[in-house]
């Protein structure tokens, strides 16, 4: 779970905080919240595909 959080933070910071300023803006926080949900969804899609393929 730690590695999943590290990857999510890294990918979502890269996507949502393109010009770091003196605080996170509202639109950056909206982007981060959606990105968190989408990365978890992608992780689930990938896990299902991979496990069904190698089983």
């Amino acid at each position: 779970a730690q590695e999943l959080m590290n990857k999510t933070n890294e990918k979502c910071f890269a996507k949502c905080v393109t010009k770091p300023s003196t605080s996170l803006s509202g639109s950056e926080e909206t982007c981060l919240a959606r990105c968190l949900d989408r990365y978890m969804e992608a992780f689930n899609i990938v896990s299902r595909s991979y496990i069904s393929r190698i089983s």
Partner: protein, 67 residues
């Protein structure tokens, strides 16, 4: 240990397929093309690995015939 390798493969594939398939700003759901890309990404990557192994074995067989 097999468990650790499995997790590490899934993290690598998620990261790679995310970069390939999710190109826009994250929304409340994936677009149809992002979803299709993600659903196919793992299978095509594994197909790619098998294809590469097959090509290498073909080349080895050819070299064997020539020698």
């Amino acid at each position: 240990q097999a468990q650790a390798r499995l997790h590490s493969s899934i993290h690598m594939l998620t990261s790679m397929c995310w970069d390939k398939c999710v190109t826009g700003t994250p929304s409340t759901r994936f677009s149809r093309s992002e979803e299709g890309c993600l659903a196919n990404c793992v299978d095509r990557f594994l197909d790619t690995s098998l294809f590469m192994v097959k090509k290498i074995e073909e080349q080895r067989a050819q070299h064997g015939q020539l020698s």
